[in-house]
């Protein structure tokens, strides 16, 4: 009871902060503990905004919309049957530090070599720990960096990108996971990693760019 009360109180405080549309340079956050919580969406319009949602429980939903440039969005869900959705429209959006990290793997045109991917320790755009979770990311713009990490079974991760010079990364650890990356535009990079069995991975790029898929053992660093 006490835990529930604290949670509700915090959500109310955050809800007040989230009422209306945020302008440039705002930070919005929601932390929820328990089941069947729902954040329809945090919407931010402008540049240099940050939004994070942390949910610990089952059957939760988290939605985030950002319109502008250089925005950061982060979703962290622990539990079963959770759903996360983000939509970003603009340029240079992504996770807080991975955008600065740039490409974590490289295919060198000149030397004809591929540098092994390095798992960044930076926060992922969407992180889910548990089973039967769904993560969707819809990106319109350029120079965006979107990453998804799912740890568990029967999860689904989807990234849809329209733009140029974007990076999409998906990591799934567990069994029976599905990962989809669809990209329309040039100079984009799609990267998928799987550890587990019965996975189904799809990368579709309409435009030039790089696609890298990796599975099984690897030097992973959990976010």
């Amino acid at each position: 009871m006490w835990k529930t009360f604290l949670t509700v109180l915090f959500v109310l405080m955050v809800a007040l902060a989230l009422s209306g549309v945020a302008l440039a340079g705002n930070i919005a956050g929601v932390t929820q503990t328990g089941d069947s919580n729902q954040v329809d969406y945090i919407e931010q319009v402008g540049d240099f905004n940050e939004a994070f949602i942390t949910q610990d429980g089952d059957e939760n939903k988290a939605g985030q919309i950002q319109i502008g440039a250089s925005n950061y969005v982060y979703t962290h869900q622990e539990g079963q049957g959770n759903k996360a959705f983000i939509k970003q429209v603009g340029d240079n959006n992504g996770s807080e530090t991975s955008a600065a990290d740039g490409i974590t793997f490289e295919i060198d045109d000149e030397t004809n070599t591929i540098t092994s991917p390095i798992f960044p320790t930076s926060p992922y755009t969407q992180y889910q720990n548990g089973d039967h979770n769904t993560a969707d990311a819809l990106i319109f713009g350029n120079f965006n960096n979107t990453s998804q990490w799912q740890d568990g079974d029967d999860n689904t991760a989807t990234i849809e990108i329209t733009g140029v010079r974007n990076i999409a990364k998906q990591v799934q650890v567990g069994d029976r996971n599905d990962a989809v990356i669809n990209i329309k535009g040039d100079d984009n990079i799609a990267y998928q990693y799987h550890q587990g069995n019965d996975y189904d991975a799809t990368i579709t790029i309409d435009g030039d760019g790089y696609s890298v898929y990796m599975n099984s053992s690897g030097s992973e660093t959990r976010p």
Binding site: I107, N112, T115, Y199, T202, D206, V212, S216
Partner: protein
């Protein structure tokens, strides 16, 4: 009663009609004379023998189309076998034959590096569209990567159209030898018409990229 076989991949075919009965039969062929020609159109076949007839399909060179039709063989007493289905693609114009597309695969640092190339051997600069697909099917899961776009290729230019990487550690190599199936296809189109293509299937990809220490790879 009788059967028909045709297997020459050209605009001109020879059809073989076999009489499986123990008596002689007279056969008449029905076909679309607008773009087909069979010689002879009527013939007799002794019991147990085969009659070879010439079949020519008229499609103007360079026409961007495929034609489909059927040929029906019937006997005097109107017995007829299932129609022979015909599907013919227009032959490529000379210039279109001068596009060359190929796939190169390199195994390095636990990766298969797959690259698609095209060479424009015509005298004109061209805008082409390519579609590269890489599929991997194995016990642990399936991977399907596809990439396509329009590219400009100058006359006599060789261009790398696309490249992608697929992980394949040495341990996986031994495993894939028995389980995983690779299919990599490249298609190049001009004005929506296929002008060049290449494909690599397991196990040729393994043979081409066989890592050190694995002497031989069993065929699938």
């Amino acid at each position: 009663m009788y059967s028909v076989a045709s297997n020459k991949p050209n605009i001109t075919y020879y059809l073989e009609v076999l009489n499986l009965d123990n008596f002689s039969i007279s056969v008449k062929s029905d076909f679309d004379s607008g773009w087909m020609f069979l010689s002879p159109p009527e013939f007799k076949i002794p019991p147990g023998e085969t009659k070879r007839i010439l079949a020519v399909f008229f499609i103007p060179e360079g026409q961007d189309s495929q034609r489909e039709g059927k040929i029906v063989f019937r006997t005097e007493n109107e017995n007829k076998q299932a129609p022979v289905k015909v599907a013919i693609s227009a032959p490529m114009a000379k210039e279109e034959k001068d596009f060359k597309a190929w796939i190169e695969v390199e195994y390095k640092d636990s990766y298969l590096k797959i690259r698609a190339f095209c060479f424009n051997d015509t005298s004109k600069d061209q805008v082409l569209r390519y579609e590269l697909q890489a599929k991997r099917d194995g016990k642990s899961g399936t991977v399907n990567i596809s990439q396509g776009e329009y590219v400009f290729i100058a006359s006599q230019e060789k261009k790398c159209l696309s490249q992608l990487g697929l992980s394949a550690s040495p341990k996986d190599w031994r495993y894939m030898t028995f389980k995983d199936h690779y299919q990599i296809t490249l298609e190049v189109y001009k004005d929506g018409k296929l002008v060049a293509e290449d494909s690599i299937f397991y196990p040729s990809i393994l043979e081409a990229c066989r890592p050190p220490g694995i002497a031989s790879l069993p065929r699938w």
